[in-house]
């Protein structure tokens, strides 16, 4: 009866059927939190309930969803758009921190909530997570694993959990819980806990997605991160998608791009076109020539960028993970932009 994956019926398959814990990482500045939020919305569009979790104490989710800082606990932050037949589901959010996660953990497994508070008050949690950061990571990943596995009335409480995880540079350590903790706790409850968490993280229910932009350093970090996770993945850590953020379409043809990048554009055409458009007159005698030069330079920069981006994309694709394109939101990131990104993710099969 109580089937593990009692998923709401969907119109079509997505790329991540069966994945219930989505870990989203990425280099700083690439929009990791934004796309984690968009993914949560996209997943919730099929109905049901999705939990979005941040673990770095930045209150990025609250900013993203334009709501006051999240107190500890799981709070509803958005309703997904849904379709004409299926109403959208709910996105809940939690800003997880190690101390509260420990208190939850002690209460849940040992009925020791009070003890947890005492440990916190005495600075023990601070101490333990200071000298053994692996403990902090295991508490946070543990919280995500727990939320993923939590059940109500025989069915999972959350249809999916999306974790806004630490940046690419730290992700493999963050997820490699067993080895982080094994040196510290060779036996005992924390070790048992770590092993459980490890099993969830390395199950087919979990996938790790990378957010990047088409620039050299983020692309390189993404490839490094993928290689690192592959290195750990004999236990079955599942790589997810590469989400290419801030993609801008180009209006130029390939020939124009090549010409523009080399500075071989047809300037005559530019000058003539500007004249036809009436740019000339109001800008002084040689106005359109100066403007034409300026525009040619801008086209050249644009073309160089587009060609570099294509090369970055080629390199990214060679990593063999599905890639999703997310458009650059030019008019400032807000809720409307977030819904657009969610729709783009859905269209491309991410959810």
């Amino acid at each position: 009866m109580a089937e593990d994956n009692l998923m709401p019926v969907r119109a079509r398959d997505t790329d991540w059927e069966g994945v219930r814990l989505h870990v989203v990482t990425g280099k700083g500045g690439t929009g990791k939190t934004t796309l984690a939020g968009a993914l949560a919305l996209a997943l919730a569009s099929a109905g049901g309930r999705v939990l979005l979790m941040e673990v770095e104490g930045r209150q990025g989710i609250a900013q993203l969803f334009d709501c006051p800082p999240l107190p500890y606990g799981e709070h509803k932050v958005a309703v997904a758009p849904g379709t004409s037949t299926v109403p959208g589901g709910d996105v809940y959010a939690i800003a997880a921190d190690a101390e509260s996660a420990l208190i939850d953990y002690l209460e849940m497994f040992y009925n020791l909530r009070h003890a947890g508070r005492t440990l916190t008050r005495l600075g023990i949690v601070d101490f333990a997570t200071t000298i053994a950061p692996g403990l902090r990571d295991v508490l946070l990943t543990g919280k995500a694993a727990e939320a993923t596995r939590r059940r109500t009335g025989g069915a999972p409480l959350y249809d999916a959990v999306v974790m806004d995880a630490p940046p690419t540079g730290r992700i493999s350590r963050f997820l490699n819980i067993a080895s982080e903790v094994s040196g510290l706790a060779k036996a005992g409850p924390i070790r048992a806990h770590a092993d459980t968490v490890q099993r969830v993280i390395r199950s087919p229910e979990t996938a790790v997605h990378f957010v990047t932009v088409l620039e050299e350093m983020p692309v390189q970090e993404t490839l490094d991160g993928i290689a690192e996770l592959r290195g750990l993945s004999e236990g079955g850590l599942q790589l997810g998608a590469v989400m290419i953020n801030m993609v801008r379409p180009t209006a130029l043809t390939d020939d124009q791009l090549t010409a523009a990048a080399r500075g071989h554009l047809d300037r005559h055409e530019l000058v003539l076109g500007l004249k036809t458009a009436g740019i000339e007159g109001s800008l002084g005698p040689d106005g359109s020539t100066a403007v034409a030069d300026g525009l040619a330079a801008e086209l050249g920069e644009h073309a160089t960028q587009v060609l570099n981006q294509r090369e970055h994309r080629r390199v990214l694709t060679s990593a063999g993970q599905p890639c999703y394109d997310l458009p650059l939101i030019t008019d400032g990131m807000d809720l409307a932009g977030l819904y657009r990104l969610a729709a783009a993710l859905q269209e491309q099969g991410a959810a």
Binding site: T130, I131, G188, T250, Q256, R310
Partner: protein
């Protein structure tokens, strides 16, 4: 001129670099704004203007090492070959922080071999020294102090760790103190401090309650390891804290200049505001804001609106709509405006309109920052179409800083 702005003080980076009293430059800012590149560009420019510079980076970007002509950076300052004609007698070194090695070296330098061996082998030490983000901050401070004490360089340029909250390095000394003065560490070290038999006298009830809980949750072996670690480390703690506090005070002296790096984007500037406030709270000498990757246009006379209108004028009525440009999400060619005789011109005008809108948005953000922090001088670096691969590209950035 530009829509009633107050005059924002200009950050004169060359004067800062040329001033022999400037001994340390700290670049801070949120992740992805180009801190490391900025630090390298400043270091190069200072060296080419005659200073003896070492750039200390904590960001393991291989490209940066390569851009400085180094195959790797390995916790030791390596000389960066400058072209002969450019060098005004200055020198440039670069190093990348290896936090574990830095930590190990401190342990080896400050503990006798036996004890050092004990510490290095302890699982808690290994975890602490290799994985804690805070360790990186602290080790960056430690390395900075070390470099400064050698007096081998007259300018140290350092970028800050890409940490969760990028000013964690300021908290490193306090955190260490809090850690060392914490009740828990006193309890944990009490047995060894008081010596074997006195254990029972010193230990009070709350301790046994705590050890009970810790044992239950973590297992008894963890507690033993922690105690071994703490007692082995105990003698070194004082020195650690002292040096951290020294470095902290060194940062407050006028010889230090903090540069907050940001891109003209809402998140980065919000973080920058936070840094500015935090630095002032800690009485750290802020030199200014470096606004990185600012867009400009060589055809700025043509406004976004006129450019857009001109593009439309070139399209036949009922031709591709405005939003043809924002449809589709592929980065590849999406040729539009087939219906016009001037597809290239239409594309150019639209690109230009977009760029002018971006410039306007960036300017608004910068103005908002300056309105909140009117005394903070600002320098701009023009966005480069390509990534930094070599010294020449770093030089362009340094030049752009100076031109602004």
């Amino acid at each position: 001129m530009s829509e009633g702005t107050k005059v924002v003080p200009r950050l004169d980076t060359d004067r800062l670099l040329d001033d022999p009293r400037t001994r340390i430059i700290v670049c801070c800012g949120s992740g992805g704004v180009g801190k490391t590149t900025t630090a390298a560009a400043l270091g190069l420019r200072a060296a080419e203007r005659g200073r003896h510079v070492v750039v200390l980076t904590v960001d393991p970007a291989r490209r940066l090492a390569q851009s400085m002509g180094l195959s790797s950076l390995d916790n030791t300052p390596r000389p960066v070959p400058l072209s002969d004609d450019a060098a005004a007698g200055g020198t440039l070194h670069a190093m990348m922080l290896d936090m574990k090695r830095t930590f190990d070296e401190i342990v080896e330098a400050h503990a006798d071999p036996d004890r050092a061996g004990q510490i290095l082998a302890n699982p808690f030490y290994q975890s602490l020294s290799s994985s804690f983000a805070g360790t990186q901050e602290y080790m960056a401070m430690e390395k900075l102090g070390q470099l400064r004490r050698t007096e081998q360089w007259d300018l140290i340029v350092v970028d800050t760790p890409p940490s969760r909250s990028a000013l964690d390095f300021l908290d490193a000394p306090q955190r260490l103190s809090r850690f060392l003065d914490g009740r828990l560490i006193k309890l944990l070290t009490a047995p060894t401090r008081a010596g074997g038999r006195a254990y029972l006298k010193v230990v009070n009830v709350s301790f046994s309650v705590i050890t009970g809980i810790v044992t239950k949750v973590l297992g008894a072996q963890v507690l033993r390891d922690v105690q071994t670690f703490v007692s082995a480390f105990d003698t070194m703690f004082g020195g650690f804290r002292e040096r951290a506090e020294d470095t902290y005070r060194l940062l407050q002296t006028p010889g230090t200049a903090f540069l907050v790096v940001a891109t003209p984007e809402p998140d980065a500037l919000r973080e920058a505001s936070y840094f500015v406030e935090r630095l002032s709270e800690d009485r750290m000498p802020l030199a200014g804001l470096i606004l990185n990757r600012v867009h400009r246009s060589p055809a700025a006379r043509l406004s976004a609106a006129r450019s857009q209108a001109a593009a439309e004028a070139l399209l036949p009525v009922g031709g591709p709509a405005d939003n043809a440009h924002s449809a589709g999400s592929n980065g590849g060619g999406a040729p539009l405006a087939d219906a016009t005789r001037y597809p290239l011109v239409v594309a150019a005008l639209r690109l230009h309109a977009e760029r002018m809108q971006l410039i306007a948005a960036e300017r608004r953000l910068a103005q908002r920052f300056s309105a909140a922090h009117p005394a903070v001088p600002v320098a701009r670096v023009i966005a480069q179409p390509e990534d930094v691969h070599d010294l020449a590209a770093l030089r362009v950035i340094g030049q752009s800083l100076s031109d602004n």
